[in-house]
């Protein structure tokens, strides 16, 4: 699936919920189900700075030129947000990730709710995913 198709899917899922309590229940559920990041990837290097909770992000480029993400946090809501981002961006081509317009954040109403504080780490995670993808693009010899 393409990035925007997955985003639209998520926007539709969130549209089913009336209030933020329910939306958070959903995010928490995703957070609980996100597989934990193997300890070897929970390094200082993979840690995302500027978050109130500890957030780790690990990425790798596969032979067929796709970037895969794994993430973790000691806070469940941030894990849930990481889960959403991974669902959208993991397995895509680096150039698609780098130029992705993540409109789902606005559309599900998250921008007004929690994305404005850097403490939740959402913006930091997006930035890191894009930076990693840019690095992979360079590695693949693609024009950035």
């Amino acid at each position: 699936m393409k990035i925007n198709e997955i985003q639209d899917e998520i926007v539709n899922e969130f549209a089913m919920f009336d209030d933020w309590s329910d939306k958070y229940e959903y995010i928490i559920d995703i957070g609980k189900k996100l597989p934990p990041l193997p300890a070897e990837y929970k390094t200082e290097e993979n840690k995302i700075k500027g978050c109130q909770s500890q957030v780790w992000l690990h990425s790798q480029l596969t032979n067929d030129g796709k970037v895969f993400f794994e993430g973790d946090s000691d806070a469940i809501i941030v894990r849930g947000l990481a889960g959403l981002l991974i669902r959208i961006l993991s397995g895509q081509k680096p150039e698609e990730v780098a130029k992705a317009d993540l409109y789902f954040i606005d559309k599900v109403g998250m921008s007004g709710h929690l994305a404005q504080t850097r403490s939740n780490g959402l913006a930091s995670m997006v930035k890191q995913m894009k930076l990693d993808s840019l690095a992979y693009q360079a590695k693949l010899g693609q024009k950035i």
Partner: protein
């Protein structure tokens, strides 16, 4: 017999228009008062009146608006002097806030009186703003920083403090009330002990001044710093109190207008106190409005406020203790109305986000006291801090909110 009390929280709340709103569809419960308090109408009105009626630069103007602005600005200095019972108005220096006050002392007093081999003592529960300026001074001068340990309950250990004191001690910088734990420190004892060794004492009064009766002469502290915005006044204004003889002996902190007497390219002479330490055009509007905050607190009365907040603290402590898995961090002998807590298995950030959906504002994180968090072996806490306008019903809302949090993360 029913006690008749003059303290009417319903009336007080009417003076704080910001409280009357809903957040995510729920009535706002504002429990982040240790970060900043809300402002009563007289403060908001004083700001508006200043800009609508007499905005002018102060001290050198000879026109009517400048004189009025100067009189009001200096009126706040007098009100602040009375509020902490300083002996003279020259001892009241306006700053941007507590942080700037500490930096001013560390830089100016430090430059004049601290040298290699000297020692500076702070405590484990200091805010970063009462750690970093002293570390910077130590790096510059080669002085040594020592730290008073605390108990598991969150009290400083006086015997350990006494062991740290020596003839080498030049400065003791201590927080009066801990922003993370609520602990009220025995500052008078700390000051007397320090003076026995000829050391000076700076008291960080950021969290104390809105809650406790402050008398800098009775405390006999050498410096006392606090912020307007944590005691119902505007942001961007603070006070540094210093004993006059000390302030006189200290070099200026920043150079510029206002702080000079005469300037030539060969030589500049400095203005007298307090202006020597007030370089540049100050924050006139907020300083003027700060007086309204001081008067507001005086009108209700520190004693009445203190008594009411203790009632909230006792009620809140008992109510929160009943929540399974909740552990209160900071159970000192004497506390102000701050409750820091952790809930087993739930990250403080998750707690804060879900409470916010209930319209409840608490602070989560390390509260700018990372060494203190390390002392307790925790990354952070959730903190509810109560002010004069909070109610027991609001604490009930917090309890309900936390039950919901527990359910969601179970």
């Amino acid at each position: 017999m029913e006690l008749v009390t003059a303290y009417n929280v319903t009336d007080i709340r009417k003076d704080f228009p910001i409280l009357n709103q809903t957040v995510h569809g729920k009535p706002l419960v504002y429990f982040d008062n240790a970060a900043t308090t809300q402002k009563p109408l007289p403060v908001i009105q004083a700001l508006t009146e200043y800009y609508q009626g007499y905005n002018a630069n102060i001290h050198r103007g000879i026109h009517t608006l400048a004189e009025k602005a100067t009189a009001e600005y200096e009126g706040t200095r007098e009100a602040a002097r009375q509020f902490i019972n300083a002996a003279q108005r020259e001892e009241i220096i306006f700053t941007r806030g507590t942080t700037e006050g500490i930096n001013l002392v560390a830089a100016s007093f430090g430059r004049a009186f601290i040298k290699a081999g000297d020692e500076i003592i702070i405590s484990t529960m200091e805010h970063h703003s009462n750690i970093v300026p002293w570390q910077m001074l130590c790096e510059e001068t080669g002085a040594k920083l020592s730290v008073i340990p605390i108990t598991d309950e969150g009290d400083i250990i006086l015997e350990e403090y006494e062991k740290l004191l020596s003839e080498k001690t030049k400065m003791v910088a201590l927080v009066y009330v801990s922003n993370s734990l609520g602990t009220i420190n025995p500052v008078k004892q700390v000051i007397d002990l320090a003076h026995g060794y000829g050391a000076r004492v700076l008291v960080d009064g950021a969290q104390a001044t809105a809650h406790l009766d402050i008398d800098v002469q009775a405390l006999d502290c050498d410096f006392y710093v606090f912020s307007s915005h944590k005691m119902y006044g505007p942001t961007g204004v603070g006070v540094l109190y210093g004993k006059k003889a000390l302030l006189e002996a200290m070099p200026p902190y920043q150079g510029g207008g206002e702080m000079i007497k005469d300037v030539s390219f060969e030589r500049t002479t400095y203005n007298e106190l307090p202006y020597k330490f007030e370089a540049g055009t100050p924050n006139i509007a907020d300083t003027v409005a700060f007086k309204a905050a001081l008067q507001y607190v005086n009108n209700i009365g520190k004693a009445a406020i203190g008594e009411y907040e203790q009632e909230l603290l006792a009620y809140g402590t008992e109510a929160l203790s009943g929540i399974p898995g909740l552990r209160i961090i900071g159970q000192a002998r004497e506390k102000i109305s701050v409750i820091s807590f952790r809930v087993e298995g739930i990250h403080h950030q998750d707690i804060g986000i879900i409470l916010d959906t209930q319209g409840i504002a608490v602070r989560t994180g390390h509260h700018c006291t990372q060494p203190l968090m390390q002392r307790f072996g925790i990354p952070g806490t959730s903190r509810a801090s109560f002010a004069m306008y909070n109610t027991k019903e609001e604490i009930d809302r917090l309890v309900q909110g936390l039950h919901k949090v527990r359910k969601m993360f179970a």
